[in-house]
């Protein structure tokens, strides 16, 4: 007798197999269809990975350079003219307890030239500063050549060039004792700095001692900029105090900045590009999804008789729908995993070429595969419903 409990049921593993069967019988089509998804996912993961790696590299660089460097500038007076910091400002700033190092710079009205035959008006875009001996340490400037100013050389016509300045003057080595000409005075080049990532404007500067500047160019001791390093945990506190300390009479004229902020801003500016590229990846993914849906619709039509057979063998509509959704999800899973591998490889190659430490966010990989699965499920839904709705009697017979 017929069992009252005769129900149509399938094991999950068999549902998975039924979904995989269609794919394995058409490997070429499967791979091409999965490729669409793979490209989308690879693009997204590549973009995320590369931007994460570049951001990590930038942040690491910022960390290396230190976020505890602050710059105090005279700013402008309420009347709009270039203000001056009081003579006592550097000493006052040094007295703030968390300030570990400070160095004052004062711009000098002089131009640097290779020889006296070049007209004075050609400044090469190089700014001359009178600099305190602490400048190199405070900026953590490394010397490509020679030494920075010291207590002895500040009193002599000695000059240290920023990286760009040296290049513009055509000075690559100090071993031959090169000299430069500053408004009637010859200076010995005693050092050339490496580029300063936190203070790129100082790459186009040249530094001489305060006593020399005062003697030869009549430079006043009022600082135009004071650079200082604070205890890393007290940056904000010190920042708040700097206006009043540096210029007690006109604290509002003082401009305080943190050079590392500019670099960090660069890291966030990149995010716009990242979003744009992610958007393109998403478009690729949608196209890939439409491709899957397309192929699945064709697959359903081609496999009418298999659908009819399965219904005759006892499959419920849900089983048929499940089979095709499974197939579609498997298809996109292949694409998703392939895309994740591809995206990670691209990131790896690109990042190591840039000399960055590779940083592929695991979350992005997981999200990429998850997105692929979602796309597959969505793309498979319509074809699956069509398959499930097929009239089994018509499906088992050769022509409708």
């Amino acid at each position: 007798m017929m069992e009252a409990t005769a129900r149509s049921r399938i094991r999950p593993l068999d549902l998975l197999r039924s979904g995989g069967q269609g794919l394995s019988t058409r490997p070429g089509r499967t791979m091409l269809t999965a490729l669409g998804i793979a490209i989308g996912i690879a693009a997204m993961i590549g973009v995320l990975g590369i931007s994460a790696s570049s951001k990590a590299a930038l942040l690491r660089q910022i960390d290396d350079l230190g976020t505890n460097l602050l710059a105090v500038q005279a700013g402008q007076s309420v009347f709009g003219e270039q203000a001056k910091l009081p003579e006592a400002a550097p000493a006052m700033v040094r007295r703030i307890p968390p300030v570990e190092q400070a160095a004052a710079l004062t711009s000098v009205s002089a131009s640097v030239r290779r020889t006296n035959y070049i007209p004075e008006s050609e400044t090469n875009g190089i700014t001359v500063y009178a600099a305190e001996v602490e400048t190199a340490d405070t900026l953590q400037a490394k010397l490509a050549q020679g030494r920075f100013l010291d207590t002895a050389t500040v009193r002599t016509p000695a000059i240290v060039l920023g990286a760009v300045s040296a290049e513009r003057l055509g000075i690559t080595s100090i071993s031959e004792g090169p000299m430069v000409y500053l408004n009637g005075h010859w200076f010995n080049v005693i050092g050339i700095l490496d580029p300063l990532p936190l203070n790129p404007d100082l790459d186009r500067a040249a530094f001489i001692g305060y006593p020399t500047a005062a003697k030869l160019f009549d430079t006043k001791p009022n600082a135009s900029t004071i650079y200082l390093r604070t205890h890393p945990d007290q940056v904000e506190g010190v920042r708040a105090l700097l206006g009043r300390t540096a210029n007690p009479e006109n604290p509002n004229e003082v401009q305080v900045s943190r050079p590392s902020d500019a670099l960090e801003a660069k890291a966030t500016v990149d995010q716009n590009l990242t979003r744009l590229l992610l958007g393109l990846g998403a478009v690729a993914l949608v196209v890939g999804g439409v491709g899957i849906a397309n192929v699945m619709v064709i697959s359903v039509l081609e496999r009418r008789s298999e659908i009819g057979l399965r219904r005759a063998l006892g499959a419920k509509r849900m089983h048929i729908a499940g089979q095709f959704v499974t197939e579609s999800v498997l298809l996109s899973l292949i694409g998703g995993v392939g895309g994740a591998v591809l995206g990670a490889t691209v990131t790896q190659v690109y990042a190591s070429r840039q000399g960055w430490v590779v940083d592929i966010p695991v979350a992005a990989l997981a999200a990429g595969v998850a997105v692929a699965l979602a796309v597959g499920a969505l793309a498979g839904l319509y074809p699956a419903i069509r398959a499930a709705r097929m009239d089994p009697a018509e499906a088992v017979h050769p022509t409708g």
Binding site: M2, A6, R7, E306, A312, L313, P392, A393
Partner: protein, 229 residues
Amino acid sequence: MTVLELRDVVKEYPGSPPIRALEGVSISVARSELVGIVGASGSGKSTMMNIIGTLARPTSGTVWLEGRDVSTRRDQTLAGLRAARIGFVFQQFHLVPGLSATDNVATGLVYRRIGRAKRRQAAEVALRQVGLGHRLDHRPRQLSGGERQRVAIARALVGEPALILADEPTGNLDSKTGEGIIQLILDLNRQGRTILIITHDQGIAARLHRRIELVDGRVVADVRNGEAA
């Protein structure tokens, strides 16, 4: 004991005017019967088979399978019924090209939640029964037409159904191969299986116990051959 009963079954396909494929068919089939259904093309044989096999519903009338009225049941109940109680054999075999003979036959048990190992075991037994013990791992492509139909018959057998429905099982085979299939069906019936077979071939029909003839959707003859074959 009655396995199958149809009473006043009418099937109308939509159209203008609607096509009446069955015009009030009433038959009854007992356990272990071997019934041939004959009739000209378009007389309604396949329609009747689909309704018996619960792949289609009658427009009116009632169908009982093992005493249960199946004409009004929900789709999923009917699916369960097909999985457990009905075996189908089709003219065009309907084998999955990528699967071995064993796995094709084992598909007959997939919707009964039977594990793969057990399914394959049962499939091998069924394949031996149809004389294909030496072709277990062959793909359909590697089998002759007659062998393919034997695989399909094994798939219909494997679930021990109450009723086997065969729609023109020899339709795609030459007469010698077809004869082998008919012999197999006669054998299976001799072992006690209830089988309905649609055929164009009057010669084949004459060798079955019972012959039902359809003309334009009506039963015009229902003849028992007594000691047939």
